[in-house]
């Protein structure tokens, strides 16, 4: 739990030891950039919700409402050449690393021109040239794969650092444990952000583990673990910066436990009927965006009109992106056949019942093939 109530934010943010933050190593431009990423994250998710209701988003979507600061603040500590491996609720981190809202919209609407070509959902894309490793649905697996990326960076003597995210629920998987244990044993340059958002699907995190403090679970791996107010974008940034520096100087993995809260249900269909309203209310007061806005204004880094300008720039950008995406088609059906193997000749053929150009075969024709004695009739 964050140590102080929202009022603390009326002062310059505090460092993790509770002292007043030396007015941050970040410039005003950095702070405005962080603010913009926070706005972008929340707004894109809202647009996606609308598109979902309109039947344009295919499948489902997962919101990060209330957790945006964790994703944004941590990813902001990375440098060019670093790698990011986000979990499902880390949209903000993707924006920080250069993914555009348009790319996200294309992806959720299963468009031909999306990063996966319509073949996979949500943020399941991997783009090595941009240092991105996407997750797959089975939880815990991604970290194991990121270890391989980190191993390669280390073997090549490159300076890159890998950052990844994991829900506290996902930390219960065997894969997560194996991944963390291996990263620690091989001293890989990895930063793991454990997003303790109190819920895993419909189950409270307190029922998922007997630990009081989720930092304890990181201690098992013999690496430094720190706890941070995940709703304080600057606190997250600071912790991430330290961890990234540590990884970059090849002193190994760090685990950052971000204390935050999942303000909406697991996915769109989850109405949160088991969540007490008071609990939501208490965390609403800690909304990471409103807190950061207040900080920017009170500390004089920006003003309400300045923030409004960022907001409307974001809105305008998204209007255009949504408009653009509306006209994008789904992939051509037969694209389903491609890209299974590295050798296209091994990709599956058009099914024997179908014609290559579309439609189904004329039975009389296929019949000539595969006969020893010619047609029987």
């Amino acid at each position: 739990m964050p140590g102080d109530g929202p009022a603390a934010y009326l002062l310059p943010a505090r460092d993790s030891a509770g002292g007043v933050r030396p007015l941050t190593s970040l410039s005003g431009d950095d702070l405005r950039a962080l603010c913009r990423y926070l706005y972008l994250t929340r707004s894109v998710e809202e647009r996606l919700e609308t598109l979902l209701r309109q039947g344009r988003v295919v499948g489902g979507m997962y919101r990060s409402l209330g957790q945006e600061a964790t994703a944004v603040g941590s990813a902001y500590a990375l440098e060019p050449g670093d790698w990011l491996a986000p979990a499902i609720r880390d949209l903000g981190a993707l924006f920080v690393r250069g993914i555009t809202p348009r790319e996200i919209l294309l992806q959720y609407t299963a468009c031909d021109s999306s990063l996966t070509g319509g073949k996979d959902t949500t943020n399941h894309f991997t783009v090595p040239s941009r240092g991105l490793l996407g997750p797959i649905s089975p939880l815990g697996t991604q970290l194991c794969v990121l270890n391989g990326v980190a191993l390669a960076l280390k073997m090549r003597g490159e300076a890159g650092v890998c950052m990844t995210y994991q829900g506290e629920g996902a930390s219960r998987t065997g894969a997560s444990h194996e991944g963390l244990a291996m990263a620690a044993a091989l001293e890989l340059p990895i930063v793991v952000v454990l997003e303790h958002n109190r819920w895993a699907f419909g189950t409270r995190s307190s029922r998922q583990a007997a630990v009081e403090d989720w930092v304890d679970i990181a201690e098992a791996y013999g690496v430094p673990a720190v706890s941070v107010d995940g709703n304080d974008v600057l606190a997250v940034y600071d912790a991430a910066r330290d961890a990234v520096d540590r990884a970059r100087s090849r002193r190994g993995m760090t685990v950052i436990v971000a204390e935050t809260y999942r303000m909406l249900g697991h996915a769109q269909h989850d109405r949160q009927s088991h969540v007490p309203e008071e609990e939501l209310e208490a965390w609403r007061d800690r909304d990471p965006i409103r807190q950061f806005e207040r900080y920017l204004v009170v500390s004089g880094f920006d003003s309400e009109p300045g923030l409004e300008a960022i907001r409307s720039a974001v809105a305008k950008e998204l209007d255009a992106a949504v408009e653009d995406v509306r006209s994008r088609p789904y992939p051509a059906p037969a694209d389903a056949l491609t890209r299974v193997y590295g050798q296209p000749e091994l990709d599956p053929a058009v099914p024997w019942t179908r014609r290559a150009g579309g439609g189904y075969v004329d039975v009389a024709q296929v019949h000539q093939a595969g006969r020893r004695f010619g047609a029987r009739t």
């Binding site: 295919v58 649905s137 037969a334």
Partner: protein
């Protein structure tokens, strides 16, 4: 695939009286667990979000309140440990029903199932009477990890049983049989059918469908289609179309159980029709059709008037975009085309 409600052919298609209730496939599963837990207090449920939340598909909604936290257990996200706990509890004489939130997530429990659950009786004489159930199958635009058919991963593993009901009736009857079965049963529920399939089922009767018995979903004499899961409906639709358009009479055999496999029903049908088409939703290469084909070759080769053929999904992961997923899955037209081919052979 059909988008409208599916009313399976057979006795449940119209209300036969007041002691029948319209039941969805999902309700059938829910009711069976409820009934078995009522009558046998060794039955219990464990899995992710099954208790407080009532299950990702709300299959176990209200169970916690009725049966208490000892018998409806929320676990951490740990499929291996879920299956492991089910095995241990089964060794103690309990009857665990372990839920996989999506059947795709059975993969992390693969070792526990294949090496512990399946081999326990053979190795030590101590069996593991347990059910592992979860939603499988495509058609819901859910992408590569919430759409898989996993039967082939387990088909070569002696010691396991596997069922895949297509109707609410069989969802009930097979689940009851699975719970009472002495061996580990993988119970695959087709999520596309959850709320689409509706049937009138008897309220006071204890439906029980023995494992290992296929059902003739649609009788016919010119060609046998062997299938299971949601493909039963796709196949039946193709059969109707062929019947209407060219009068040929296709038999659709719904396997219901994959292991034990009802070889004699398959062979009997093929001996009558002389032609066999196997349809499944899993990819082609290494799919379950292979076993069926082998068995038919061994037992009814001389009765085959045409090659055994397959209509299956593509040899790819399940793609996400609707255009791709539709192309991936066998469609009614594929089956019609294949049937025409076989009939004309």
């Amino acid at each position: 695939m059909t988008e409208s409600p599916i009313r399976p052919a057979g006795p449940g298609s119209s209300p036969p009286g007041s002691c029948f209730r319209e039941t969805t496939y999902l309700e059938a599963i829910r009711e069976t667990m409820w009934e078995e837990m009522k009558t046998d207090n060794t039955v219990f449920i464990l899995g992710e979000d099954v208790a407080v939340y009532g299950g990702a598909f709300k299959v176990t909604d209200g169970f916690l309140e009725e049966f208490g936290p000892d018998r409806v257990i929320d676990t951490p996200i740990s499929e291996a440990a879920i299956v492991g706990a089910a095995i241990g509890a089964a060794h103690m004489g309990l009857k665990p029903i372990a839920e996989m939130q999506f059947i795709d997530f059975i993969a992390p429990a693969f070792d526990m199932i294949v090496n512990f659950a399946a081999k326990s009786r053979y190795r030590t004489g101590i069996g593991a009477s347990l059910v592992i159930r979860g939603p499988f199958g495509a058609g819901t635009r859910a992408g590569p990890f919430h759409s898989q058919s996993v039967e082939s991963y387990f088909a070569n593993v002696a010691g396991l049983k596997m069922v895949a009901p297509a109707t609410a009736h069989d969802a009930k009857g097979l689940l009851r049989a699975a719970i009472r079965d002495p061996d580990p049963v993988l119970y695959f529920e087709h999520k596309f059918l959850y709320r689409r399939v509706k049937e009138y089922l008897p309220v006071d009767e204890e439906l029980l469908v023995p494992l290992g018995r296929a059902r003739t979903y649609r009788p016919g004499s010119d060609l046998t289609i062997v299938t299971y899961g949601a493909m039963v409906y796709t196949s039946a639709e193709a059969a109707e179309r062929i019947a209407a358009e060219e009068g040929a009479d296709i038999e659709v055999l719904d396997l219901r159980s994959l292991r034990p496999l009802d070889t004699s029903a398959i062979v009997e049908s093929v001996k009558r029709t002389g032609r066999l088409l196997v349809v499944h939703e899993a990819p082609r290469f290494g799919g379950f059709a292979g076993e069926i084909t082998s068995q038919v070759c061994e037992e009814a080769f001389e009765w085959l008037d045409a090659p055994v053929r397959r209509v299956t999904a593509l040899d790819t992961p399940v793609p996400y975009a609707p255009t791709l997923e539709d192309y991936y899955l066998p469609q009614v037209e594929d089956i019609v085309t294949a049937a025409r081919w076989l009939l004309a052979y």
